[in-house]
Symmetry: C2
Subunit: 374 residues, 2 copies
Amino acid sequence: MNFKILKNCSSSSARVTEFDLPHGKISTPVFMPVGTNGSVKAVKHKTLSNSGVNLILGNTYHLYLRPGAEIIKKAGGLHKFISWDHNILTDSGGFQIFSLAPFRKIKKEGIYFRSHIDGSYHTLTPENVVDLQKTFRSDVLMPLDVCTPPEITWKKAYSAMKTTHDWALKSRDHWLGCRDEWGGNLFGIVQGNFFKDLRKESAEYISSLDFPGIAIGGLSVGESFDVFQEHLSETASVIDKNKPHYLMGIGTPEYILEAVENGIDMFDCVYPTRIARNGTLFTWNGKISIKKEIFADDFNPVEKKCRCFTCTNYSRAFLRHLFKTNEILGPMLATEHNLYFIKEFVDKIKESILTDTFNDFKKTFSGDYENKHS
Amino acid sequence: MNFKILKNCSSSSARVTEFDLPHGKISTPVFMPVGTNGSVKAVKHKTLSNSGVNLILGNTYHLYLRPGAEIIKKAGGLHKFISWDHNILTDSGGFQIFSLAPFRKIKKEGIYFRSHIDGSYHTLTPENVVDLQKTFRSDVLMPLDVCTPPEITWKKAYSAMKTTHDWALKSRDHWLGCRDEWGGNLFGIVQGNFFKDLRKESAEYISSLDFPGIAIGGLSVGESFDVFQEHLSETASVIDKNKPHYLMGIGTPEYILEAVENGIDMFDCVYPTRIARNGTLFTWNGKISIKKEIFADDFNPVEKKCRCFTCTNYSRAFLRHLFKTNEILGPMLATEHNLYFIKEFVDKIKESILTDTFNDFKKTFSGDYENKHS
């Protein structure tokens, strides 16, 4: 992947890196908008690429169930199916099976589960998950892993981690046998629940398997910010520094700052797009809930300093009106703004690392952002 | 308005005209997309203007209830509120009161009704309806009228028509007293239900009031195509030829062709956008319902000959997938296609009138369109 660290922050683990993927160079830190079913909800791909986004995420679990691998194969891969010329990272489906499927059973060879859509029976294995993502022609693939909730016993966490490691090895070997067919990169996933010894063991083991990149899983699943911080910091300090670091499921400004400070390069979350559809919008002075009465005659843009389509064309009053009347344009404009905001936010972080002013940026941003105006 | 007839069809009443409105020249025949609450559903205004649309419709009833005249006034008018630099025609609210309000009472001075949103009490009069549209800075205003359903008695239809005429006069006089404040144009509305004598009387009376344009109301309200055709033809033959003719609530290709053939210049309907949100798309070979199984692996665009964003970027298979997974992008792409299709369709009609081949065009189009492929 030709991974390069362009700059290390002098006072934290924050860094600017770049690497090549089949559909173009990635510059980090990078936020990946989530396109669950192959569509980043309520926004056109062209809008994303025009704002500089060149890496989105797709969910293997959802795409496997609908439209199914056969259709995507016939289309010539996921990029062609969804008309996206840039990079796609697909997850393994593990997380969705654990959060959505009404039934699941983990066996040595894989996970047996029922679809949350029609109750049909399916099996995902380390090998067929790699094959699915090969069919998708994913630029970054993730291996099947066992996701566990907080507050389970050490023994259960250990067992889940061991299975995750076993599958990581199987996934890697299967991927090594076919990667030349399209050039996708399989990342390893660190698990270990909230046990320090397990997280350390997992971070070391996954690092030893020499994946092109390393992902940290199992965080930001309901634990407190302090607990998140502690485990992130310890895990991130163990994984191989000469590879891209991907923290799964992170998407609020506060968590992104924390991730970057700990040397994370990539992150994804439905958060910015999901809150947008509910009328919550980012500003540099904190989030605002646009449905509030206070915005009924506020003819300012959502964020005066923002140059997105929404802020350069529309007022808070109009946005509020769209949400109050359930117009689809409301979620459309809110989503476009929130993704633009997060892109700009991450670009500013990058700039601050390059000029070695990351700590100042973090301090200033957090001060303004917490000083919410509504 | 500087109304000019550029071309009359030699074998029908079809014609190409143009006239000036405050926000730019209108070339007819023209289809006006409907933006009920100030937003043409699921599409950005920029997308519309980029495809050549320069006249949209807004609903006075809806805008009066939400966000209310006060907000629109504070915004500096409807154009500024919704960020649309081109023309806006607003209806009078009459039709919506009759189709949506849970309670209404017609008196000499206006209509008393309750809101379908919160049950609150309101009154619209010929005068305040003009004032509302003055607040909106509408380029074309419509006067309050009494809308009646099919199959009422002659006596009831006569009474409704008389009230409509009374209000037309009051509206006109009120408008004459204030039109110079912003330059909006009040059109008259012909009613008369489905009684030939009443329709004729109404057409003659409304023509006599010298409005800048004349609208035909009360058609396409559930009657058969033959009945629609008959009444349209008779009414259209009576109204003043040297003014723009607007047929309210027309939006299928078949009805548009019939309207144009009878000398209608302008029409509006939610039909193209409403069916789009339900997954029904126009093609030159008839409509298709994109959710059907048959399109699951159909990697052709919705319409091969179409140059819209949807057809140049996406396949039927992907569109179907979006609708099956309830992705907002489905309605967005379908709406963009349907409006582009109708725009192109009407542009082709215009071209055929200019080259005096309207009858050929109608015949060819109808033959292809009825020869549906699904």
